[in-house]
Each structure stands twice: as C-alpha cells, then as structure tokens.
C-alpha cells in the first residue's frame, strides 16, 4: 500500500504533518514531517499541494551505502548504516525525506497504519493498494 492525497477534500489543517512529526520525532513540528500538505491562496485562488511518499524507490537507488531498503513494500532505513550524506533528501522527487542532525527521516507507513491518514479529518489522505 501507499499514501494517496485528494486535494479536493483537504482543508489545510496540517494535522497530518503534526501527527507524523509526533509519532516519528516525539514533537509537534510540521517541518519534521515526512509529507507536506497545504492549502494556500495564489493570486486569491485557493490551491492545494500535497506531497507524500509514492514508494518510487529513488532513495533506495541513490543511497551510496544501501541504508534504505524496500522491504515488504515499505521503506526501511537502517540508521546505523546511514552516513547522513543527504543524497536521498535531494533526490526525492516529492521532497518528503527529512534531513535530521545525524540521519534522515523517511516515511515507513507507520507499520501499515499511517498516523497522517488517521489524523486527516475529512479523508483527504488515504491508503491505496500498490499493484
């Protein structure tokens, strides 16, 4: 399974990002979330932007030390192997890998029950099966 964002249902509350940072980093901090979801006005037009991990595998491919692996259709980071080079952060097409002090943060789908999905009040985030 992977995450899917439906912009028409998003109200821009940021609860998804807050829950993500809370469960992964033990702090409420949207800039530490492994997804980015926002609604905003551009020229007074309401826009929505949602970036989530699509399981494209780019980070697995570019990691020079093979610290990120795709296991049972989920990304797993081996922190003890990670050399914190930041290549995955730069190469993630969705920009949802977080650069931390000693390592990086990737979306591991919360053991199959993602907190961002659980926290979304109006179903703008959901899980979809990968075929």
């Amino acid at each position: 399974m992977r995450l899917k964002f439906d912009k028409d249902k998003c109200i821009g509350c940021k609860l998804c990002q807050l829950a993500c940072s809370a469960v992964n980093e033990e702090v409420f901090n949207p800039s530490l979330a492994r997804l980015f979801v926002e609604t905003y006005y551009a020229g007074l037009e309401l826009k929505a932007e949602g970036r989530v991990c699509t399981l494209c595998g780019q980070c697995v491919e570019v990691c020079p030390v093979s610290a990120i692996k795709m296991e049972e259709r989920k990304l797993v980071l081996y922190e003890e192997v990670c050399i914190n080079c930041g290549i995955c952060v730069d190469s993630c097409p969705e920009g949802v890998i977080v650069q931390k002090k000693n390592t990086v943060g990737i979306c591991g789908l919360c053991e199959g029950d993602p907190w961002c999905v659980k926290s979304c009040p109006h179903g703008a985030l959901c899980c979809t099966e990968v075929i």
């Binding site: 109200i11 509350c13 609860l15 033990e26 409420f28 901090n29 007074l44 009040p121 109006h122």
Partner: protein, 586 residues
Amino acid sequence: MMGYQNRVLRVDLTGKRYSEEPLRIEWAKKYLGGKGLGIKYLYEELRPGTHPLSSDNKLILMTGPLTGTTVPCSGKLAIISRSPATGTILDCSIGGHIGAEIKYAGYDAIIIEGAAESPSYLYIRDGELEFIAAGDLWGKGSHEAENELLRRHGRDSRVLSIGPAGENLLPMACINTEFFRQAGRGGIGAVMGSKKLKAVVVKGTGGVRTADINKALPAINELMRNSTLTDDNLWAYSDGTPLLVDMSQASGILPTRNFQDGTFEYAKNINSETMTGARYGKRGCHSCALGCGNITRIGKAMVEGPEYETLALCGSNCGIGDLEAIVKFNRLCDDFGLDTISTGNITAFAMEMTERGIKDFGIRFGDVEAYLEIPGKIAIREGIGAELALGTKALAERYGGFDFAMQVKGLEFPGYEPRGSWGMGLAYATSDRGACHMRAWPVAQEAYGEVDAFTIEGKAKMVAELQNYNSVKFSAIICDFWALDLKTLAEVLSLVTGENLCASDMDRIGDRVTGIARLFNNREGFNKEQDTLPGRIFKDALKTGSTAGKYIPEEQFEMMLAEYYRIRGWEEDGTISQRKIEELEI
C-alpha cells in the same frame, strides 16, 4: 509546564530593539494563555488611562499551551490591547496558521510596544527579528500587502497585516491573516496603525513538546473522532456559520434594517442553501478538524465567507438581499481592513438616519450601488466616509438617533436581535469589550433552543456561566466551534501540559479571567452605568415573525443586571471589591 515555549519576545518599535524573557509561569498556571494570560500581562503592564492610540499602548500576540499541537481547533491566536473603539480591554481572536507559527518560531507571546517613526513591518524567523521599512506597502490594501510579503519571505511564512483602515486609525479597523481571516473587533487594526506597523511576518521551524506525546497523540486523536467530528460540530463543515441565517429568520432575531425588525423578506437569498450553490472550496485553520471556511464565488466576486455576521449585518441589516453584493462588500472590507460587523452597522445606521430625515447621508436601505462605495469611503475618510468612520456611537452623538445607534460602549451589535433572546441582551451589556457575541451566546438555548427567550428568569446565571465557559475556552484557545465540555477541556490541557486539571479548575479560571477583564475596565472608569443597551431595545417592539411585539422592558433588564452582579459576587455598581479580587486570586 509542557506545551509552552516558556519564552516571550518583547519588541520596542520606538527604539528598534527586542529582547527575550521567560514566560511568567505563575501567571500561565492561573490564566492558561490566550485571552486570560494576555489580559493579565496587559493589566499588570499598562499604565491606567493610557490612550489606546498612543505609543504607550501595547499589542500582545498571545498563543496558548495547545497552540501548535494536534488538539483539534486549537490554532487561533489571541491579540490583546486597549480598544480604540471602546476604551475597554480588547481581546480578539484570529484564525489561520499564525498562532502556531509563533510557537514554532519559539515564542508563547510577542509583546509589541512603542511606535515606529515611519511605516515598518516585523520579520520574525526562529528567534531572529528584523525591523523592515514598509513605506512601499503603506496605503496598500491588506491583500496586496500580504501577497507582496509572501513573495518576499516565502509562501510558508504567515502574515498579520492591516489595510488603509488601520493606517487611518479607524475604530472599526481589523487585522487580517491569510487574506480572509480577521481579528475583527474593537479597532485592533488601529492599534497597529498607531504604531506605524503595517505587518508582522513570522516563520518558525521549531516544534512544540508535550508531557507524554506517545500518550497524548492517540488520546487526542480519539477525542477528535469522538468529540469533535460529531453532529454537534460538523455543521461548521457542512454549512459553516451561514446556517444561522435560516435559524435566526425562523426565530425572529435576524437583524433587519438597522434592527428595526427581526425577519427579512429576502432571507432565502442570503441563506446557507444559496451560499452552498456558490461554494467552490473549504478551508480550515491550523489543527482544525472542522474547516468552517467557505470559499464563495459569484460572477467575478470571490471571498472566503461571507460568515453569518456579515450576511446579517451587511445583508439583512442594510436591507441587502443580494448575495453577490454582500460578497463584494465583504471582500472590500477585508482588503481595506474593516470589521464587517461594525461597518455593516454604521452603514445601516446611516441608512436609517437618511430615511428618517435626521441627517442625509445619501444612502438608503437596499441601495446596492451606494452601499458598495461605503467601505472605500470609510477606509480613507472620503466624503460621507469621513463621518461614518467615527463609528455608530460618535456619529449618533454628533447628529442624534442615539436610541437606534446599535452599540454598547462604542462597539456595534453582532447579528442577534436581543429582543428575541433576552439573555443575549444581558450578554451584550456586560461583555468585556462592548456588544459581542463571543463572550456568551445564550441565543443557542433561547432563540434556537428550548429556553423561553422572552423572560429574565434564569438568564443572569446562564450568561455568567456562559461567559466563564468562553473565558476559559479562549484562554486555553479552543475555537468557538468545538462545543466541548469543561471536563474534556481539562482533559486535553492535562494531556498537553502534564498538569492534573479537572472541570472545576476550568470553571474557576473562567471566573478569574472574566474578573480580571472586568477589573481592567473598572480601572478605566467603566461600571454599571455603561452596562446598558440602546433605547430601541427597551422601547420599540419588533414587527414581524415570531418576535413580533417583543421588546425588553427596561426595569426587567435592570433586575436581570442586578441579579447578574449578585451571582458574580460583584458590587451593585458593577465594580469588583478587594475581597472578591482576593477570592478569585487575580
């Protein structure tokens, strides 16, 4: 205590200096944050008699312990000052994301003092502050200013800004954020204008820590599912406040033609059903599970809104039954930085003055063309705008019509006719900032509910309890639209702060916050004398609908007021005794 950043940013605009200091935790324990803690700081720091538009007045941006967490509907920011419109205490509440951004930048509060020599704005980023010249933004609408500031500082910054109304020190000037969210009332925008402060831009990348986040996160999520996303609250998502148009019409409390009546023949043109037909999006504030914001577009006119207050005061109360015109008026007010409640009232007052032949302002009920020129004229004091910019009370003092100048202490009426909700009359008269629906809202029980609306029986107690409830809720900072009980409020505060709080603690804090607001007002010379309503409410009967024939007899009102003071433990003259101050531990 957890949940707080334990840090306050103090900004001196006069000397272009800033400093950081610890949050007064002993005050936070007694007042939580938001409304209560902001008022406590102002009460302790402001010299009595300080003119609201002098550089000695302060502007306090106050978050709460829940701000920036996943607690539903906790995203608002309180802004506290002495009101230019009333001279009373003024605490406003503004949505969007700026409250959380201030927390992420590392602060619980920003206290802004002094006045800049020339137009300026503040740029705050994670503990760094810049004073930036705003000569090029001065005179610009709030929307253009915000767009430009987001272009300069990044779309992920959050902006508080004023429009020309604030720059021109009008008593109905508001503060804007995210284009369509306002700290609307009491001329809070004029305080920024008097400080030559066009905007405050904030960007924060830090976080908020709570007592035991692994316990708090699932517990709060469960509360959101079981207590927030329920039928009691989801009207805010499905309809938003426009739902109240039909409810007010049915109960005869929809202000019509300057409160001459309580039903409007074109109500269905401006009700939620009509609004829903013109809706093309929904938006919520930070951490809001409900999302009350309706984005409405009719032809080329677009606004996030109009809210019920705007539909009522700028619609039925001006005899305007044309939603497109109200959307345009709303958009103009937002951009010029005008509070729609006060602007709608002033416009309606000018219409009635003209129709009665007391003073010709050249504008009549239902005259869309003249109506749409009003916001622009008021904001820059042009033509009749120069007079309307005085506000309803001062305008009546100049030209007459005081009995139908619909205001208390200089603040214009919200959209609920008190003759069809007698408790609401008491709530307007005793609210800490003049006529306000956010201090107590007995309308829900009286006009919309089962309680007899046309009696004073039990109303003093009801209003006092509702005021205490809102006082503590707006100090913890939970949005009005999550109708949580005090036990649940205590529960979320305990989860975040790690303190062991219960419902009776909440009630006590509510009583204390209401008390210190009253004490501030007493100190500025307010007492029983100003706790009253316009003559129209005591003398003129409503004409149509379910409130036809109703008015509040003045002696009944006086009895209700006296009972209210007794229940509160305040003195007969509306002041608070030293003994009571000690009892409340103010």
